[in-house]
């Protein structure tokens, strides 16, 4: 899976979680940028990514995610392992 495909899949997860087909996240997107992005939706996003990419993400990894870019890098790293 190349970076573009990962990005598309990540956007798909966000659209499903927020029930909003217009969402388009970028590497710079953070919780401040999307209305309704709170603790529970953040966990939904992590769970959604785990299912979509068949990986397991721990809280210690979540601690270091500051924006969507960090998440993309983490997913790319996990898939290459």
């Amino acid at each position: 899976m190349n970076n573009e495909q990962i990005f598309e899949k990540v956007n798909g997860v966000f659209r499903t979680i927020f029930k909003d087909d217009t969402i388009l996240v970028t590497r710079e997107t953070t919780a401040k940028d999307i209305a309704g992005w709170d603790s529970i939706t953040h966990l939904d996003i992590i769970t959604g990514m785990e299912e979509a990419f068949q990986v397991e993400i721990t809280g210690f990894e979540v601690m270091n995610l500051n924006n969507v870019g960090d998440l993309l890098d983490l997913l790319a790293q996990k898939m290459s392992e």
């Binding site: 029930k19 919780a31 992005w37 603790s39 966990l43 992590i46 210690f60």
Partner: protein, 497 residues
């Protein structure tokens, strides 16, 4: 000068370089905190705003914390304006409470311009801050310290004004119960619009301890855990639902031996949550703190011990006994004291009790009264019972109020806004617990696009009041008494949620 400020000033004078505040790994000493607060207070004086309250836009920065003290140093009170709340809600709060100015970051100025005219905003970066260990001698006849707004069943948020004397009464208990000092680090992981934040901030500062504030975006529980770990925080206050996130993301295997005290608050505390936390915070004693905002943060506190497991009801820990200045009654529908072991509504009285909601005299009359001795009492709406150990145990609510992530939510308020959107009364909202986290689900009659309804709701209410899902049904089912059949809705639609 308010007693709380005098207590903080003692540390400014005697230990000026002691850390007062850590946010995002940046640290402010007590003297830095005070210098900023005094400078902001001076700005409030210089701008000569008319009488009224000062809004604090909750940027969750060091400057925001200094602004809290600044309002008091200037003889004013503050109202937190939560940046996560929809504009319409913030406008309603401002209209209701005579806000004359707002402190905000320069980057939040555009958002705040929609709330008040630009000339009434104070951006922190426009204030010249000079080293300052002076104590202003502002005298204010106004005892008001802050006003918080909570969910109201009629769709209008209820303003709860709390005075310095209320807060002082709470802090007297806090200082005796939780003596802190130079080496203590206190976690503050709550939005300023939620009053537990006030207890955390001032329990730390009036005793010269260090306040540690995690990032409140993303998963707060994870950010709080990171702050506890990175800064070796020993005094930790969390909502029980935080454990759900920590468990789910496999973080409870990490030992936190330096945590000496944990207060669970904001939601009912299941015993198994406390026991699970104890496997992580092995050296911590655990308290369960209960209280409505109307009684100034906490009114009853229970210290868990080896007998706790025998004292639970429905798996929930007791809420214990009243704090130092709280009186308590448990009464039946006629307002008569119930006998031991009998359930009843909890009424709390004393100097921590507020005197009535902002501009809502009728609502106030329903829940607040003064007895013959002039003591204020608040009818909490919480049904409780005393167990055989003489500890109070929470049973349920008398009305349709629930706690979502620690925030009080009137289901009626969510229904009110949803009904306004669909322009029909055919809407009902249920709270449903899933793996220890309470969430809202809505049902509306007719054919509706869920995404559109959710987007409309996000414009009207804070995120924690937006339902997780909205089901559109051809018809809302009714039971034999003609009311919406909530039991059927739960069993049919929410079992697998």
């Amino acid at each position: 000068m308010q007693a709380i400020l005098k207590d903080i000033y003692q540390t400014v004078i005697h230990s000026p370089h002691r850390a007062a505040l850590i946010i995002a790994s940046e640290e402010w000493s007590y003297t830095q905190l005070w210098s900023y607060a005094e400078s902001y207070a001076q700005m409030l004086h210089d701008r000569s705003f008319p009488p009224g309250k000062i809004g604090i836009y909750t940027d969750n920065t060091k400057e925001m914390y200094a602004a809290i003290l600044a309002t008091w140093l200037a003889g004013r009170s503050f109202i937190p304006l939560n940046h996560k709340f929809p504009k319409e809600r913030l406008k309603a709060i401002i209209r209701d409470s005579e806000v004359v100015s707002i402190f905000c970051l320069a980057s939040s100025r555009d958002n705040c311009k929609e709330l008040l005219p630009q000339e009434d905003l104070i951006s922190y970066n426009t204030v010249s801050v000079l080293p300052n260990n002076r104590l202003s001698d502002t005298e204010s006849s106004d005892d008001l310290a802050y006003t918080l707004f909570t969910s109201g069943s009629t769709g209008i948020p209820k303003g709860i004004p709390i005075g310095h004397h209320h807060l002082q009464a709470l802090l007297e208990d806090m200082k005796e119960r939780y003596p802190l000092g130079e080496n203590d680090k206190v976690l503050q992981a709550f939005e300023l619009s939620f009053d537990v934040s006030i207890a955390c901030i001032f329990t730390a500062w009036v005793q010269g301890a260090t306040l540690v504030v995690p990032d409140l975006n993303g998963i707060t529980a994870i950010n709080a855990f990171k702050a506890i770990y990175d800064h070796q925080v020993n005094f930790v206050t969390l909502p029980p639902s935080a454990l759900f996130y920590l468990r789910r993301l496999k973080m409870l295997s990490m030992p936190l031996p330096w945590v000496t005290k944990t207060i669970f608050t904001g939601e009912a505390l299941p015993y198994n949550v406390a026991a699970e936390w104890k496997t992580c915070a092995v050296n911590a004693t655990i308290d369960n703190a209960y209280g409505p905002t109307e009684g100034t943060v906490w009114s009853l506190i229970y210290a868990l011990d080896e007998l706790t497991e025998q004292q639970t009801i429905n798996g929930l820990c007791p809420i214990g006994r009243p704090t130092k200045h709280i009186q308590m009654r448990i009464v039946n529908d006629k307002g008569e004291d119930v006998s031991h072991n009998e359930r009843g509504e909890l009424w709390i009285g004393g100097p921590q009790i507020f005197h009535g909601y902002v501009n809502q005299p009728e609502k106030s009359k329903e829940v607040v009264f003064q007895d013959n001795q002039g003591t204020y009492w608040y009818k909490t709406g919480d049904i409780v019972v005393k167990n055989q150990f003489d500890q109070v145990v929470y049973v349920n609510r008398k009305d349709n109020q629930v706690q979502i992530n620690g925030f009080r939510v009137e289901l009626g308020e969510v229904e009110h806004h949803l009904r306004g959107i669909i322009k029909s009364d055919a809407a009902v909202v249920l709270a449903h617990e899933n793996k220890g986290v309470l969430e809202l689900f809505a049902f509306v009659q007719g054919t509706w696009d869920e995404q559109t309804l959710l987007n409309e709701m996000r414009l009207k209410v804070p995120g924690y009041m937006v339902p997780r899902s909205i089901f559109d049904l051809d018809e809302l089912p009714v039971n034999t008494s003609g009311k919406v059949d909530k039991t059927l809705l739960r069993s049919k639609y929410l079992q697998h949620e």
